[in-house]
């Protein structure tokens, strides 16, 4: 029942996101454009080449970051873990910065297709994640781990600054534009890259759901249940890298979704089983970013997505910490 309601909510928000904006497009118009009628005119241009990819990106970003956050919370047994806080997004940024500023060495076709960005971001994200997993063996305190993650993020950020010092103004401009992060950066040609990467990542997450359940008991118990810890951890790192890195490559770092949504889903569905939580966070995450996107495109106040996100996300994090006391 709850799933049905959430699905309807997501679809409704998707349509609302298409309809509202600086130019209002009626539902009827949306339907006619989708059914191939009236493909001329400015409104259908806006709809097909601007709002539709943006809305799809919002859904993909919400779903991916939430699933990545859920997996990280289970992997680290830490309710405050998410790609942004543990520096995974920063790792992805470093990857992107390396590609943009060292682009002169790489073939042009590779860079402009978007594959270079996404591969670099995924590698950057995964490297940071592997480092954090390595640290998590030594550091058992939940809060200390978060601080270490923050530090990794800071290091990645500094490396980006160092890179900026050595690159040409054009590359810097390109990169700064990227760091502002927006859902509208994903064109149809980028979508052809992003969509398969995200789908593979989500598929892996669903494939891992039973092992994630086992990990809830802690590593030793999971091992006792027949879960191969090393392999599972590796698969989770790869899946999280694909999801968080892939999204960050095109939208820039988006905060708070990864941490907040799994908690909302746990609260709504009153479960910790990943069989239910995974589809739940996909729907909740997609809905939340659609809402944020709708707010950002309110005429006269065009806010960056991260600003809107922070208003939702930051209070939730404070609430989680208070609840743990």
């Amino acid at each position: 029942m709850l799933f049905l309601a959430l699905s309807f909510l997501t679809v409704g928000l998707f349509l609302a996101d298409l309809a509202w904006g600086s130019i209002h497009i009626s539902l009827r118009e949306i339907v006619t454009v989708f059914f191939g009628k009236g493909t001329d005119g400015i409104n259908s241009e806006i709809l097909l080449n601007f709002r539709l990819p943006k809305a799809i990106t919002a859904m993909l970003a919400g779903a991916s970051l939430s699933v990545a956050g859920l997996m990280m919370q289970t992997l680290f047994r830490n309710s405050l873990a998410d790609p942004y806080i543990l520096g995974v997004s920063s790792g992805a940024s470093l990857g992107v910065a390396l590609v943009m500023m060292a682009a002169s060495i790489l073939p042009v076709a590779f860079v402009s297709s978007g594959w270079a960005l996404i591969v670099a971001a995924i590698i950057g994200a995964s490297v940071v994640l592997v480092l954090v997993v390595g640290v998590s063996f030594k550091v058992h305190n939940a809060i200390s781990l978060l601080i270490v993650g923050l530090m990794f993020g800071t290091i990645a950020g500094s490396l980006v600054s160092v890179l900026q010092n050595f690159s040409n103004p054009d590359a810097i401009k390109l990169f700064v534009m990227w760091t502002f992060g927006s859902l509208s950066a994903v064109t149809w040609s980028y979508m052809q890259v992003l969509l398969p990467v995200v789908l593979v990542g989500l598929g892996m997450a669903f494939f891992l759901q039973k092992r994630l359940d086992g990990l809830l008991l802690g590593e030793n118990y999971a091992r006792g249940l027949g879960v191969s810890i090393v392999r599972t951890r590796l698969l989770i790192v790869v899946a999280t890298g694909l999801l968080a890195g892939g999204i960050t490559a095109f939208t820039g770092p988006i905060a708070f979704v990864g941490i907040a949504i799994p908690h909302i889903a746990r609260g709504l569905f009153k479960t910790s089983g990943h069989k239910i939580l995974l589809p739940a966070v996909v729907l909740c995450g997609a809905s939340l970013l659609l809402v944020c996107d709708i707010i950002t495109q309110i005429p006269t106040y065009t806010l960056p997505i991260n600003t809107v996100n922070a208003l939702f996300g930051a209070p939730i994090i404070i609430w989680i910490i208070l609840k743990k006391r």
């Binding site: 309710s79 494939f207 759901q209 039973k210 359940d213 086992g214 809830l216 008991l217 802690g218 030793n220 118990y221 091992r223 006792g224 249940l225 027949g226 879960v227 191969s228 810890i229 746990r266 009153k270 479960t271 910790s272 089983g273 069989k275």
Partner: protein
């Protein structure tokens, strides 16, 4: 009742292999290797676990109990030697194959948001279920059966965070039962529990070993409980070998005194407890009512009086008090004061 058949394996479990033991170690050495240096904790272990037996692993801290458990469970590599389970060498098995032979109850606290006892116990079915982990009707019956065996039916749908420590431990045991393995290993299952819960868990495990014909191995510091409940004891000492045997045999041959040797207490072979070695200087003789005798003797020992046959100071234990120097005394406190006065006068 159909399920009981599932749990109740035909005894003996490995009769086809011509060996009664479900687990055997051959010349097993346990320990840690760090940076090329090996630290052997115990060596030359030849241990056996039989189906239907509750075995208690007892020994002082640091004697290698946990290391042995971890090695037997395949969580840690042995320094040398072999562990055979059901005729298979444990280190050659895959994680999942191990999970079908041994289930674990560990000391680490399990904290899962929103998980009920049923959810927790159903995780025990992991190694048996397919990759999607669906709970079929059969699995559901096994889970309910396991919860029933630890008497937690009434808490089946309670959140595990609402459970008391004793109930939580019973839920973890139910998880191990649901895993349906011939061996269950528990690392200090009675730690952090109060006395009634400690007794209950021990009795429960004893009963489960007998009823399900599983081999149950647990480590504990509860000497008196282990002596009562265990079919067999593996006694670890800090420097000596491991001694195995039926509890009473280990009492008779003095093993407990050798292992727990200390100046300040002795293992009292008469009652299976440890008695403190109080400095005793003054001699008294006590006689009379048998039922009050035990506690009288304890009080006197603590106060430093040695009981010597026909000593000049004589205490008569009566039905509702004591008589010392022809004076009736009604509480132990008064008795001790009177004795104190008496010895000052002498």
């Amino acid at each position: 009742m159909r399920l009981f058949l599932k749990f109740k394996r035909p005894t003996p479990w490995v009769s086809t292999k011509g060996n009664m033991s479900i687990l055997t170690t051959q010349n097993l050495s346990i320990g840690y290797s760090k940076k090329g240096k090996t630290d052997v904790v115990k060596s030359g272990l030849n241990l056996q676990l039989q189906p239907g037996e509750l075995v208690c692993l007892i020994g002082p801290n640091g004697s290698g109990k946990s290391t042995l458990m971890r090695t037997l469970a395949g969580l840690q590599k042995p320094v040398s030697g072999q562990t055979m389970i059901d005729g298979k060498e444990i280190s050659t098995l895959k994680q999942r194959e191990k999970a079908l032979l041994i289930s674990l109850v560990l000391t680490e606290r399990v904290d899962i948001e929103n998980a009920t006892v049923y959810n927790l116990v159903s995780l025990g079915r992991h190694p048996h279920s397919n990759w999607w982990g669906n709970i079929t009707d059969d699995e559901d019956l096994i889970i309910r059966e396991a919860i029933g065996m630890v008497h937690m039916e009434h808490k089946m749908h309670h959140n595990i965070n609402e459970l008391s420590d004793g109930e939580r431990q019973r839920a973890m045991i139910a998880k191990a039962l649901a895993q349906d393995t011939p061996i269950i290993m528990l690392d200090e299952p009675t730690a952090h529990l109060d006395l009634p819960n400690r007794v209950e868990i021990m009795l429960l495990l004893h009963r489960l070993a007998r009823d399900t014909q599983k081999a149950i191995l647990l480590s504990t510091h509860e000497l008196d409980l282990a002596l009562q409940a265990a079919h067999r004891i593996w006694l670890f000492s800090s420097n000596l070998d491991v001694e195995c045997g039926v509890p009473e045999d280990l009492v008779f041959n003095g093993s407990f005194n050798r292992v727990f040797e200390s100046k300040s207490f002795v293992f009292n072979a008469a009652n299976g407890n440890f008695s403190m070695n109080y400095p005793m200087t003054k001699k008294v003789w006590v006689y009379g009512d048998k039922t009050r005798m035990y506690w009288t003797l304890r009080a006197l020992a603590r106060a430093g009086y040695m009981v010597v046959q026909d000593a000049t100071t004589q205490i008569l234990v009566t039905e509702n008090g004591w008589t010392l120097n022809e004076k009736d005394i009604h509480t132990v406190e008064e008795l001790l004061q009177e004795l104190n006065q008496h010895f000052l006068d002498v």
